[in-house]
Symmetry: C2
Subunit: 402 residues, 2 copies
C-alpha cells in the first residue's frame, strides 16, 4: 500500500496496474469509484455512459464496490426525473477513512477524512517539538492517532492508512526522515516509532500541501510550483498533475535556493539561501519582533495595523521570494505559483514585491501567483486525502482487506 | 506527425496510442521496432519472447514492417548457432531517415540519420547569422536540407521528417520562435519559411541536446539537468526519461536564473543572470579576449597553455554555474547534471569551481556532474534522432505514408 499513496494522477486512475484481465477489472473498479466520487450521486446507467462500459459490466463492478462498503445506494430517485432511472450511487460515508497526521515544529495534528472528502475527526496538541527527542513526540502523535481512529470508528469508518507530514526531507518511497533541521531529527525511520498498525506513508509537508492544492484547491492548474512556510520555507513542484519527487525524494527544496550568494551563512552550509530572507526567524528579526507562539498571526496583525518595520520586513521577504521564484519559473515554466502555508496569511504584504521582482526579471512575462485557500491546513489535509486517493485509485486492494 | 516528435519515452513506445484493437496493433508494431532497434539483429522467435507475444503474432507484425521497408531480413543465420532459428531481423538502413537541422548563431548544419542511428549525409555552412533577417538564413537552410535529402535519397533513404534546432525559446507544440535574442528573431513562425515539404518540428537547441544525451549518451540517467552553451546558456530538464517542457515550452531557461540579483543588467530585463557570468561574451570579456570566430576553441587553447586570466575567467564562470545549479538541484533533485555544448570543451577549467560551489551549498550532497561526449553535436543529432524516434514510436504512421 505504500507506493500508491505517493502518487497523484487524478486523470488516469490505476493506469499503472498490470495489463491483464485482472488488472483491467481493477482499473475499471477505479474508474467507477473516481467517476462517482467526482460526479455522484449517479445512477448505474450514468456511470456506464461516462466510462464507456455496458450497464451490465458496470452493475457487476458496482455490486462489488457496494459489498465492500465503498459505494452506497441512496435509494430510488424521486419520480418524474428524466434520464436517471434506478437508485443513485454515492461514495460511502461509512467505509474506509484516510488518517492524516502532521508533525509541526510547534504542534501535532491528526485528522480522519472519509471517501467523500469530509473531515470526520480531528485532534491537535499545541506546544513546541523543537529539539525534543523523536520518541516522546511520536508517542504523543501515536496517541492522537488512536483518539482520531477511535472517533472515526464510532462514526462507522475504518482507517485505511496513515500518512504523516513532516517538516523535512523524506527519503523517496521510504518512511525515513533524512533531515528535519527545525526538529533536529536526522536519518530517522518513523516506521517502528509509530505503532499505529496501519499502512504508513511519510512525506514532506510541502509535498502533501501541494497535493492538497491539486486535489482540493479552487481551479489549481496541473502544472504549478507550491511555496509554503511554517518555520522553514517549503516548496513542491507539480508537473502534469503529478508531484515531482526527484532522485532521493528531495525535489522542491526552495528554501535553500541561493538568493544572494554572499549573504548570511545558512545552517545548510550555504550562504544567502532563501530561508535567510523569507524564513520566519529572518522576518521576525528584520521586523524587530521576538520569537514566540503564533508569530505569523502577530506579523499579520502588525502589518494590518500599518507597522512600517513589519511591512518593510515582509516586503524584503517578498523580494527574496521573487528572486528565488524567478529561477524556479525559468527552469519549470509552470502555469502558476501557489503560495500556501503560513505565507498565505501574509500574502497581502508579500505579494506586491514578489510579483514586481518576478515580472522585472522575466521580461514582464512573470507567472500567475495564487494564494492558497487551505493555508496552514494544506499538509494535514493532503496527507489524509493521499490515503483516500489511494483507495479510489485501487479499490480492489481495499476490498481484499475487508 | 508533429506531436510525437516532441516526446521522449524510450521505455514505453507508443503508450499514448488509443486503447482499441487498432491501437494495440500500432503499439505492438512499435514494440517490435524498438526491440529490434535496441537489441537486433534478432530472430522472430527472439522478438516474440522479448515482447511476450506468440511467434505467429510477431510474424504478422514483422511481415508488415518488412513490407513497408522499416525492417530487413539478414538472411539465414549461420548453422550451428543455437536458440535463434530462422533469419535475423535488423532495422532498415534504406528506409526512412530523420533530417535534423541546426540554426546556430555562427553556422547552419543539416544531417540525415537512418533508423540504425547512423549519420548518412551532412552539410554545414559557416558564417554568422547574428542580426540577419530570417528569410535569407532560412533560405540557405532550406537549400542545405535539399542537399542532404538528395544525398540521402541517393543512398536509398527517404526523409520522414525535418526537425530544426534554434537558439531561442520555441512555443510548445508549435513552430514559432518566440524569442532568439542572439539572432534577434522574435515571434517568427518558421513553417512557411522552410518549404521543405516535410513534416516539420522546431525546438530549442538545448531541448534537442538533452534528448541526444538521453538517447545517445553513455549511461545517461533518466533524470538529469542538461546545461549547455553556444553563445547563450541553454538548459533542459529531463524527468523520468521525458523532457520537461513547461506551460509555454520555455522550461529549462537556466541562462536567466539570477546568480547575483544586483549584478550587471541583462538583455532579459533582469540583473545578474547566469548568462552575465558564464555566457560566452562575459567569459571572453573577463579573459581579456576579443570576440570572433571559434572563441571556445581559443578559450580552451589558452586555458590549456596555462593562461592565468583565461583560467580565472573560466573559474568564475564555473562558480556562477555552481550557484545557478544549486538552485536547480534543490528544486529538481536530479540524478546528474550533464554539461554539454561548447561547455564540454571547457569542462576541465569550469568543473572544479562548479562542483566546489555545488557541494558547499548543498550540505556536501552535491550532484554528479557528467561531461557530454556529444559536445556541440548534441542539438543537431538530437533533432535528427527525434524524427527517427517518432518512426520507432509509431511505425504504422510511416507505413501509411509509404
Amino acid at each position: 500500500m505504500t507506493a500508491p499513496l505517493h502518487e497523484a494522477h487524478p486523470s488516469s486512475p490505476g493506469r499503472r496496474l498490470p495489463d491483464t484481465q485482472q488488472g483491467m477489472r481493477r482499473r475499471n473498479l477505479a474508474r467507477v469509484m473516481h467517476t462517482v466520487s467526482a460526479e455522484g450521486p449517479l445512477s448505474r446507467a450514468a456511470v456506464a455512459s461516462r466510462i464507456g462500459l455496458t450497464r451490465a459490466a458496470v452493475s457487476t463492478l458496482v455490486d462489488e464496490l457496494i459489498r465492500t462498503g465503498l459505494l452506497e445506494e441512496l435509494g430510488p430517485e424521486r419520480p418524474g426525473r428524466v434520464g436517471r432511472p434506478g437508485s443513485a450511487l454515492t461514495v460511502s460515508g461509512r467505509g474506509p477513512a484516510g488518517i492524516g497526521a502532521e508533525i509541526g515544529v510547534d504542534h501535532l495534528a491528526v485528522c480522519a477524512v472519509d471517501l467523500r472528502g469530509a473531515v470526520r475527526a480531528r485532534a491537535v496538541r499545541h506546544g513546541t517539538n523543537r529539539g525534543r527527542p523523536p520518541q516522546p513526540v511520536l508517542g504523543e502523535l501515536t496517541a492522537l492517532v488512536g483518539q482520531v481512529v477511535a472517533e472515526a470508528e464510532r462514526e462507522g469508518l475504518w482507517p485505511a492508512g496513515l500518512a504523516v507530514a513532516v517538516p523535512g526531507l523524506v527519503a523517496r518511497d521510504a518512511r525515513t526522515v533524512v533531515r528535519a533541521p527545525n526538529l533536529d531529527w536526522h536519518d530517522l525511520d518513523l516506521g517502528p516509532l509509530i505503532p499505529a498498525r496501519l499502512p504508513l506513508t511519510v512525506d514532506n509537508e510541502a509535498n502533501f500541501g501541494s497535493l492538497a492544492e491539486l486535489w482540493l484547491g479552487e481551479a489549481t492548474p496541473r502544472d504549478f510550483l507550491h511555496v509554503s512556510a511554517e518555520i522553514g520555507i517549503g516548496g513542491a513542484v507539480v508537473v502534469d498533475g503529478r508531484l515531482l519527487r526527484g532522485t532521493h525524494g528531495f525535489a522542491g527544496e526552495l528554501g535553500h535556493v541561493p538568493v544572494r550568494p554572499d549573504g548570511p551563512e545558512c545552517a545548510c552550509g550555504g550562504r544567502g539561501c532563501l530561508e535567510q530572507y523569507a524564513g520566519e526567524e529572518a522576518v521576525l528579526r528584520a521586523a524587530g519582533l521576538p520569537p514566540g507562539q503564533d508569530r505569523v498571526g502577530l506579523l499579520a496583525e502588525r502589518a494590518a495595523q500599518g507597522d512600517t518595520e513589519v511591512r518593510e520586513a515582509l516586503g524584503e521577504a517578498g523580494t527574496a521570494l521573487g528572486i528565488a521564484l524567478t529561477g524556479a519559473v525559468n527552469l519549470l515554466d509552470p502555469q502558476a505559483v501557489v503560495v500556501g502555508g503560513a505565507l498565505a496569511a501574509l500574502a497581502p504584504w508579500l505579494l506586491p514585491s514578489l510579483e514586481r521582482e518576478l515580472a522585472r526579471r522575466t521580461a514582464g512575462r512573470g507567472c500567475a501567483v495564487a494564494v492558497s485557500r487551505l493555508g496552514p491546513e494544506g499538509p494535514l489535509l493532503g496527507a489524509a486525502h493521499s490515503v483516500v486517493r489511494a483507495v479510489l485509485d485501487d479499490p480492489a486492494a481495499v476490498a481484499e482487506r475487508v
